[in-house]
């Protein structure tokens, strides 16, 4: 990123202290930037949250196509059962929902949540960084990006008309690409327990075992002390902490969005979805993550309750995972995956999927779920119907050179 753009980013992002803001409630300091325009009577006041799951969420586990004849064999030990205590929760047709997500299941029944399956961004490689960049930049191909589609969308919301002016909110230690750009964006970082995750620790240990035995021994000893502490019932970290952190972040973001004069468009990220090994089926590592996500969704609904009818939440990931379980009871980088759309503003209770099937002939490169829906179509549909972003701008400014990608209709109530 150029120095100038970086500087602009930092300027556009104003930090607020969590204590100062969330304790006090709903008042914000005056903004420079977009002028406040008196809203027309009866104007809607929509909220949009985009949740990015970093690491490539396994859509085939989150929303298993449980009645696809190829499913059970492909997935082997990590396949979800159709019924029983750990059975997947039925949605419609071929599809069910991972049992760790009861809140989402309820919202689906209440027609306030939908699934989009066999989706992908235009990205077809396997790098997390590049995949996330493309997901966030909104471009058609990998290129140096200085701004993200959500920021450009904020700028494209018409200044007069039905929808009130929006400000952006970036949750986390720095503004993610999706919200970088010229539209002003608030920043808030949740005070989560700051420790290295189990996943990071494993990867570093792995590197040391291959490169430097002294470092490996030293870190191993350090981790053992930690395990001892956990066994003594001291502050535990890792999976339960990840779930708590997701809820903390979700509550904070929701509180800020619920404020009457606060931001309207937010982006937050959850890490840990790169389940190459020991992914688990109905229980296990991915199940814990999905449970955490479900808890975050419940937090959104709870805290945004007064404005829930105007709220939409998108949950997306950079790509999916291999259809076949791998040698370490996990899955590797894939392509097609699932996305979630939920909120009071949604016309929900549906699974949108032009389902290609999971037989070998129908897998992409005989390995991945073939994507049949460009995520940009979903984004455009939500931005147009929920935030009133004009179609012409969606095709040019917000998602450059994307004229061929038509917006999905009917996602929003």
């Amino acid at each position: 990123m150029t120095k100038r753009a970086e500087h602009e980013c930092l300027e556009a992002r104003a930090f607020i202290s969590r204590r100062g803001l969330l304790g006090a409630g709903a008042s914000f300091f005056a903004w420079s930037g977009l002028p406040m325009v008196a809203s027309a009577a009866g104007a809607r006041d929509p909220r949009l949250l985009v949740v990015i799951l970093r690491g490539a969420m396994d859509g085939l586990s989150a929303v298993p196509p449980i009645h696809d004849p190829a499913y059970a064999d492909l997935r082997g030990d990590i396949a979800l059962p159709k019924e029983g205590t750990y059975g997947a929760l039925p949605l419609e047709g071929l599809f069910a929902l991972h049992p760790a997500m009861p809140t989402f299941a309820r919202l689906y029944r209440e027609k306030k949540a939908s699934v989009l399956h066999a989706v992908a961004s235009p990205y077809r490689e396997r790098s997390h960084f590049d995949g996330q960049d493309l997901l966030e930049s909104g471009f058609g191909k990998v290129a140096r990006a200085e701004s993200g589609w959500l920021n450009r969308a904020i700028g494209a919301i018409p200044s007069t008309g039905q929808v009130r002016l929006t400000k952006g909110l970036a949750v986390g230690a720095a503004t993610p690409l999706i919200l970088r750009g010229s539209a002003p964006v608030l920043g808030w970082a949740p005070q989560i327990v700051a420790k290295a995750t189990d996943d990071l620790t494993t990867r570093v240990m792995d590197l040391y075992r291959h490169r430097d035995t002294k470092l490996a021994a030293a870190l191993q000893a350090g981790l053992e002390t930690d395990k001892l502490a956990k066994a003594q019932g001291m502050e535990s970290q890792g999976r339960p902490q990840d779930a708590r952190n997701m809820v903390v972040a979700a509550e904070g973001a929701a509180r800020l969005l619920a404020a009457s004069d606060g931001p309207r468009v937010a982006a937050l990220s959850f890490d840990g979805w790169d389940t190459h090994a020991n992914q688990g089926g109905a229980t296990g590592r991915l199940a814990d993550l999905l449970g955490g996500l479900d808890g975050a969704i419940a937090a959104f609904e709870r805290v945004l309750q007064p404005v829930w009818k105007d709220t939409a939440v998108l949950v997306v990931t950079e790509f999916g995972r291999t259809a076949r379980v791998n040698g370490t009871v996990g899955s590797d980088h894939g392509t097609g995956t699932a996305a979630f759309l939920l909120g009071g503003a949604i016309a929900g209770g549906r699974v949108f999927a032009d389902w290609p099937g999971l037989s070998s002939a129908n897998l992409l490169e005989n390995r991945d779920l073939k994507p049949t829906l460009d995520l940009r179509a979903v984004f455009k549909g939500v931005l147009h119907e929920h935030l009133a972003v004009p179609l012409a701008l969606l095709d040019t400014v917000v998602f450059p050179e994307s004229g061929a990608v038509r917006p999905m209709r009917g996602l929003i109530a």
């Binding site: 970086e6 720095a174 570093v204 030293a218 890490d271």
Partner: protein
């Protein structure tokens, strides 16, 4: 990749072993040895000239002033509380006192309504603000240097002549100023000049308790019956000059302690313009000549001590001690090349402690480059290296907090012998765990601005191992990739 593996490794060695780390693209941009040498020729390389930082004197004056204010407020509160109680007493029996409530001593009308009768617990704000400003200035200096050899030398000497902010307010207020005024100007000058500047400095005087040291036969000693404190003298001999096996005896320690009685500085009671200045208190100085290592130092005020220190500076054991420490710090603590130590000691002795010559000789010697990069960077070096490619910290919190967590607090040491060298200390299990956690936090801040794979290639060029490159590339997010980079052997070792 512009370089061969061997060339990249050599340059990496230059930047890590002798400097504070690369910026992106630095390895490919030329001869690191030449870059280091030009640092040694830059007269400003060692100096911090930020006008916003307080001189030692100004820092002490501010600290004294705040102490006075605190005292005043406390006695004011006590007076107010007393007055309040008296008032209440009068109100209950109004006929007893026809006088007005009266003025409070030194009080203002507004303070009468003060709810608390107890004095507020006052935080030493001045010292804390100074400490933070100095910490920030120092890490920013680390970010600016072309390679960072001179800055590493400053860190070395600062650890050699260390003081600790934990000692108390006065050291906390002046430790940064001491580094800037007593160490930095002499890092490429003469050892003897640095020694004198440091031992005269108020921070050192306080840290090693010399103010309490009183000559038994001095006027003050005879009156109060107080005696010597040998702390400063011992550490000068054992740590700063000759070294523990440098050939001095207990008698030498006591003798040097006597010589140094009276060394101090003007305190808060002195006139404003003299506060914080070096002062020789003849009243507590042990009179007469004193003998150290066989040399007699005639009576002569502070000059006696100055001569003694100059003598110690030029002692052959000092040359040996300094050379050994330098090689143990920069090259290897487990196996310092003996010939290199010998060469540096000889140059130190021949040149009368010319530190520029000694520092140059160190990096020009192949023996310094040979050992593999197997030593863990200290927390400060690691943090400085991060700022050199990641950008300077935005606030003191990004410096002070992490250094505290990693047990290398800034301007603070566990003891007068400073921080130890070696992996036994810096690569302990606890240190590894802490650094991993911090890497995760710092990566969160940095990740959005960088592609960690690009940074790894840009920093290490052909010295980047395929294992590290792969681990970074496979990370599930930029943040995770950046954390792996910060914990990679390439980034950790020097």
């Amino acid at each position: 990749m512009a370089l061969s593996g061997e060339e990249a490794l050599r340059r990496l060695t230059g930047y890590h072993r002798f400097g504070l780390g690369m910026r992106i693209g630095a390895l490919a941009s030329g001869d690191v040895l030449a870059a280091i040498k030009s640092e040694l020729h830059d007269p400003a390389a060692a100096l911090i000239t930020d006008p916003g930082l307080k001189t030692t004197q100004a820092a002490l004056q501010a600290s004294f002033a705040e102490q006075r204010e605190t005292q005043q407020m406390r006695s004011q509160s006590r007076d107010e509380a007393r007055e309040l109680r008296a008032q209440r007493g009068r109100q209950r029996q109004p006929e007893k006192d026809s006088g007005s409530p009266g003025m409070m001593a030194g009080g203002t009308p507004g303070s009468m309504s003060a709810q608390s009768s107890a004095p507020q617990q006052e935080q030493p704000n001045v010292e804390r603000d100074i400490y933070r400003a100095e910490a920030l200035a120092r890490i920013r200096k680390a970010a600016d240097a072309p390679v960072g050899y001179v800055e590493r030398l400053v860190l070395f000497w600062s650890n050699h002549f260390c003081v600790s902010a934990q000692k108390g307010q006065l050291v906390r207020a002046t430790a940064g100023a001491m580094e800037r005024e007593a160490i930095r100007p002499h890092v490429l000058g003469r050892f003897g000049d640095m020694l004198l500047a440091v031992e005269k400095h108020p921070a050192m005087q306080v840290y090693l308790d010399n103010r309490q040291s009183i000559g038994p036969n001095s006027p003050a000693g005879r009156n109060r019956g107080a005696g010597l404190n040998e702390n400063l003298a011992r550490e000068i001999l054992e740590l700063h000059t000759l070294g523990v096996s440098g050939g001095y005896t207990q008698a030498d320690v006591t003798s040097l302690a006597r010589i140094l009685t009276g060394w101090g500085f003007a305190g808060g009671q002195a006139p404003m313009d003299r506060q914080g200045q070096f002062e020789f208190g003849a009243n507590r100085h042990e009179p007469g000549p004193h003998t150290v290592l066989g040399r007699v130092f005639a009576e002569g005020g502070a000059g006696q001590g100055e001569q003694a220190l100059r003598f110690l500076a030029s002692h052959p054991s000092t040359a040996r001690h300094v050379a050994t420490k330098l090689v143990r710090h920069f090259v290897s603590d487990t196996n310092p090349p003996a010939a290199l130590v010998g060469r540096l000691a000889a140059i130190f002795a021949e040149t009368g402690g010319d530190l520029a010559r000694v520092s140059l000789a160190l990096i020009e010697d192949e023996a310094a480059w040979k050992p593999p990069l197997v030593r863990m960077r200290t927390p400060y070096e690691w943090l400085a290296a991060i700022t050199r490619f990641g950008g300077p910290p935005q606030n003191f919190g990004q410096v002070i907090g992490p250094l505290n967590q990693m047990a290398q607090p800034i301007f603070t040491v566990p003891g007068p012998n400073g921080f130890p060298e070696g992996n036994a200390h810096w690569m302990s299990p606890e240190a590894m765990r802490t650094r991993l956690d911090l890497a995760a936090i710092i990566a969160r801040r940095l990740a959005n601005r960088f592609n960690p794979s690009e940074v790894a290639g840009g920093l290490f060029d052909a010295a980047l191992s395929s294992e590290t490159a792969q681990a970074i590339r496979r990370a599930e997010s930029r943040e995770q990739g950046m954390a792996i980079l910060l914990m990679s052997p390439e980034f950790l070792m020097r």
